[in-house]
């Protein structure tokens, strides 16, 4: 699961694995609303879930995305 999540993140934001831990909207040029929406759609597809708006707002880093996914029963 972790690897799927990592790959997806790298793919959407066009970054390498070693950039993941520091990935936030402020550090990544590619993290705009288009890419954020894409990430949300991709995560919902991949893990077969549907986020609440509050959770969409929470996903502002690689780490926080993982925390939110855990709430939806995704085990890393």
């Amino acid at each position: 699961m972790l690897q799927t999540y990592r790959d997806l993140f790298c793919e959407i934001f066009e970054i390498e694995e070693d950039e993941l831990d520091s990935a936030t909207p402020d550090t990544l040029d590619t993290w705009d609303s288009l890419h954020h929406m894409n990430l949300i759609a991709a995560l919902e597809d991949e893990f077969d879930i549907e986020f609440e708006p509050e959770d969409v707002m929470e996903i502002v880093s690689f780490q926080s995305g993982m925390e939110v996914l855990k709430k939806y029963g995704v085990n890393f």
Binding site: E11, I12, E14, P25, D32, S33, L34, H35, H36, M37, N38, I40, E52, P53, V56, M57, V60
Partner: protein, 470 residues
Amino acid sequence: MSFLPSNRDSPEKIAALDDKGGVITYGSLSVLLDEFGATVPSRALVFCLCANDCGSLAGYLALYESGLVPLLLDVSTDDTLLENLITTYSPEFLWCPDAYCEKEPIVSAFGYKLVRLSDSSPHMSDQLSFLLTTSGSTGSPKLVRHKYGNLEHNARVVATTFGLTRSERGLCQLPMHYTMGLNAINSLLYAGSTVLLSNSSLMSKEFWQFFKDHEPTSFTGVPYSYEILIKMKLLKIEAAHLKILASGGGKMPEENFKKLAANAVETGRKFFSTYGATETSARMSYLSPEKAILKTGSIGKPFPGGDLFLVGPDGSEIEAPDVEGELIYRGDNVTLGYARKKEDLILGDTFEGEYRTGDVAYRDKDGDFFVVGRMSRFLKLFGHRVSLDASERLVADRFGTDCACSGTDKKMAVFVTNADILKDVTKFLAETTGLPKTAFKAYFVEEFVRTDSGKINYKALDASVIEAAG
């Protein structure tokens, strides 16, 4: 001419506030206008770096009203692109955040300053009032030349048609350097309303906190804004204060149009589907809100003072309903024309009050218009106009391959004759346009099917995509 309400009897009234805590009253704005008028030379070319905040708004208004010719640009414009624009047009001044450069300020306000870039301005036509880049064309130095009265006209008709009043609090999240974002702001100022400037993503806590704190009465967005807002459950939350939802800047997916129209009926809101272009200083037409539930996707009729009509392939006007033709607009908001270099700033009115939209449309028996496609080869990916021909040239130059682009407003299909570069091509186009990689899909073809005249047969290519998708 001015956007600002002529009755300056309530100087305490808030003209704008932003999500960083900035506030401007109508009174302080008028003081600032006087200060700028006395300090800066009129008829100079100025580049304004913009975010949706009080400093950007104050600078644009004060410089415009002082007779300078502003070009509004995104503050996060890539350095190379900005350098390129400065070389191409030689502006005399730059309006930028204080921290943007070390140069000495000539005037400053709300964390922004005016600095000098060169000794003089290019020669400019007396009619020239204002400049914007053509929407979405990234990297292109092509500008739209506005004349005095364009912005004012559109602000007035939109304010009047939407019924904006001084008690309106309009949430402006579209960038102010984008024609419709600017028109939303100008219309509110014209009506003496309060502009709520947000610089935050529609998916951020900051945006929704700002939304809660200031309870906007209206919102203007592009179709993609509504895609996000629907995902964020805007139509499900309690927000009785929100009375007007306006959209424009591309065709909204039918499903979302229907959701917005149904929501308007349920809540008593007004949903305005509008149609516009940078070349017409924003909006040309709107669908009467009470028709939204009946006419999914319609752009309605022209705003007062404008005229929309259809022309067939032989150049004659189409009067009959349900017949497709090119959509053409006439009105006081039609701009002067384009500029590609500083010498073009002296040009007069090349559009002569008429703008050929390049969109194919028909009108129904009630006279409401529906856009069905485009004459020229553009896609509108995530609301950004992306030229298929330019994309073809970019890929061909970068990879030394033959390339053909087609597709839909959801996804561009990029065909190349080299199977090894498919991933690189999508990555390259995503980087060049600033759009997500998912907006592009690359396909390998051994060779292109061509028409008798030697042009690429796009129909055959599209058919091969459908086949590949199974």
